[in-house]
Amino acid sequence: MRRLLWPSVALALVIAYPLLFSTPFQQRLGALVLLYAIAASAWNIVGGYAGQVSVGHVVFFGCGAYASMAAYSHFALPPLVGIPAGVLVSVLIAAIIGVPTLRLSGHYFSMATIAVAELVRLIVTNTDYLGAAVGLSGPTVPRTVLDLSFTSALPYYYLFLLVLLITLGITWWMANSRMGFYLRAIRDSERAARSLGAPASRTKLYAFMLSAGLTSVAGALYAMMFGFVDPESGLGILISVKMLIMAALGGAGLLFGPLVGAAILVPLEEISNNLLGGKGAGLTFVVYGAIIVLIARFQPGGILTLIKRLWSRRRRAPETTVAAEATHAP
């Protein structure tokens, strides 16, 4: 039961947050943290657990966002109805990228994801059906509650929390299933895993497709909250960057890593945008770039790995330091 103590306390705090911090800015901030945590957790399945660094995940985010807005604009349906279509297209695109590249070294996968993201952005920008450069918008006035169009951020907060819990649940289940063990073996040594019979390419592909589908749900939620999507907000490379940096800062391949990363970076970005205005956008990404470089250089395991290491060193110091180091080797 002690294992569940801290997670329960944390969950209680997360549930209480919008009631304790009840200004619109604070509630919106909380909702955004959860939204990005969903996207980053989805990225984490392929980027962290499978060790395949996708830098084009925004394409799945965009599929979800566009599908939900298209359901409203073209068929007058609630945006929610578009989600299955977005998930389906995302999983299909993941297969198109994944089948050829996941057999090759990880570089090909990363390059292919970035190229596909750009390809899709260019195609959508030139497709009138998808609103071209202007984008698509959702319902301005909610017709029924199913439209999920609210003026307050509070309903979004709890909706996103629910989806985040589901996402983390799926991740946890995957990590502790046969697939999770395969993935860990593949990440540590693909050759060894293959020689012991782990179906490496197929397992990585499944992880990628699962990750793509969940990311697409995050995109749909984003579009519902903001009420519109355009090529910049739905398919811009910087959204991929956010998913990747949040997961990596918190701890890639750890269940709560993306949530920690989102809880640090989303407020940072919102506050810097508020303080610096339009000029701040450039500076925010200078800082993001610097953070990514520093993580890669000094702490590829992210903050949670660092904390765990310090924690276990303090508890088991000094005679087991070597063992503690060994268990946390990347």
Binding site: V53, E118, L122, N126, A296
Partner: protein, 287 residues
């Protein structure tokens, strides 16, 4: 063939030579250290801005801009190697990709912050105007860029295959421990490779700046072009990068002419995906 099509193809070849030049840097580092530099396109972008600053401050064109850009970028390459690459090389794949990708963002948005997001151009007549050869109109700036890029790429190939420095670098690429036992310092050789690769992007950037738009985000597009070129040419192969670069330049120009300018990138990126499906080892690579 109509003379316009010939003109389009010639233009594509000249641009493709510049693609080949900066892609050879990427392929050199990939082949030698098994690292893909996701900041490669942004190195080219920096080269363009160096050329722009040189022109703004000194009022001179690529004849001075290219050497200065090469020096600045080569220095940056060495700093990046010792500051970042040397340590992430030993780490997990995630650290390698994050490291250079973060560097790309850092460079792109530092320039964005310093110069703004506006597209800039150098004056069109900086290198001379346009002239006719056998009925084909050629811009002098494109001709200069293409010819110089071709010569530098060939020079790079000769450096790698015909000099003792090149042999040492290839030895490190083959087996760095064995090379070390032969008295070659892998660290020095890899730093030189980064200096050469980054210097090549500096020259390419300064050359392309004479006729291309200059913007902080141009590095993303050019970076993808470099990925396509390298995977088409087979990684580690400078001649492969040359052939692939010229080919992509022509494909881009012809598709821009036939289908429309906005679709040229779509054609090139789709081609890249087709290659990953059917021939991942590249045109000239062995399976």
């Amino acid at each position: 063939m109509s003379s316009i099509l010939v003109q389009v193809i010639v233009g594509g070849l000249l641009l493709g030579a510049v693609y080949a030049l900066f892609s050879s840097g990427l392929t050199l580092i990939w082949g030698m250290m098994n690292i893909v530099n996701f900041a490669h396109g942004d190195f080219v972008m920096l080269g363009m801005y160096v050329a722009f600053v040189v022109w703004t401050l000194l009022g001179v064109g690529p004849f001075l801009g290219a050497p200065i850009a090469a020096l600045v970028l080569a220095t940056l390459g060495i700093i990046v190697y010792f500051g970042l690459i040397r340590s992430v090389m030993k780490g997990p794949m995630l650290a390698q990709i994050l490291g250079t990708f973060g560097l790309a963002l850092l460079l792109r948005y530092s320039v964005f912050w310093g110069f703004g997001a506006n597209f800039m151009t150098l004056p069109g007549d900086l290198v001379g105007g346009t002239f006719d050869v056998l009925g084909i109109r050629i811009q002098a700036s494109r001709l200069l860029a293409g010819v110089v890029a071709l010569l530098v790429t060939l020079g790079l190939h000769l450096l790698l295959t015909r000099t003792s420095l090149g042999s040492k670098m290839l030895a490190v690429a083959e087996d760095s421990t064995a090379a070390q036992l032969m008295g070659i310092r892998p660290d020095t050789m890899q730093a030189i490779a980064w200096a050469i690769a980054a210097g090549a992007t500096g020259i390419a950037g300064a050359l392309i700046a004479t006729f291309f738009y200059i913007a902080p985000t141009v590095g993303e597009t050019l970076g993808i072009v470099a990925f396509v070129t390298v995977s088409l040419g087979g990684f580690g192969s400078v001649p492969g990068a040359l052939v692939a670069g010229l080919l992509i330049g022509v494909i881009e120009s012809v598709s821009a002419y036939w289908i429309g300018a906005v679709y040229k990138d779509i054609v090139v990126y789709s081609l890249f995906l087709c290659f990953l499906w059917f021939r991942p080892q590249g045109l000239m690579g062995k399976s």
